[in-house]
Symmetry: C2
């Protein structure tokens, strides 16, 4: 059953890589919810902080890519809003 933990960790760590690539490539952010990505980034950052507190390396390692992808998507949304 441990395998489910690993699949879960890898999937939730990397899931927003395709979204990030798509958004960087197309610059089409109209359908994206800024609030969702801000709340997501905040949540993931809190997991990283909590992981540091617990010295829980998997929690830190699996959440860091998610945080980076979320920041990149947020940056694209804000950049698009700034251009309007």
């Amino acid at each position: 059953m441990e395998i489910f933990g690993y699949i879960a960790g890898i999937c939730t760590a990397l899931c927003f890589l395709p979204q990030t690539v798509k958004t960087l490539r197309t610059k089409d952010v109209r359908g994206l919810s800024l609030i969702s990505y801000v709340v997501y980034a905040l949540g993931v950052l809190c997991w990283i902080i909590y992981g540091c507190h617990l010295y829980a390396w998997p929690m830190i390692i699996f959440n860091t890519p998610s945080f980076i992808f979320a920041l990149l998507i947020i940056a694209q949304i804000l950049q698009s809003k700034g251009k309007k």
Copy 2:
């Protein structure tokens, strides 16, 4: 420091509620990555399965809303693709 765990859990559980509402309302799915949401849903489902295995209720409770939101977003994307 426990507070960071709670904030993280609530944020990552509910973060895609605004995205779900926005997508259901606008039907604008062009900027959304289907792969990202499928991988996200798979990851979250694996967390739920793993949580059931560990009898870890917070893991089950916090991941279930995420799974539902992901499914709703995937359904919207597929519905939109079907119409094309």
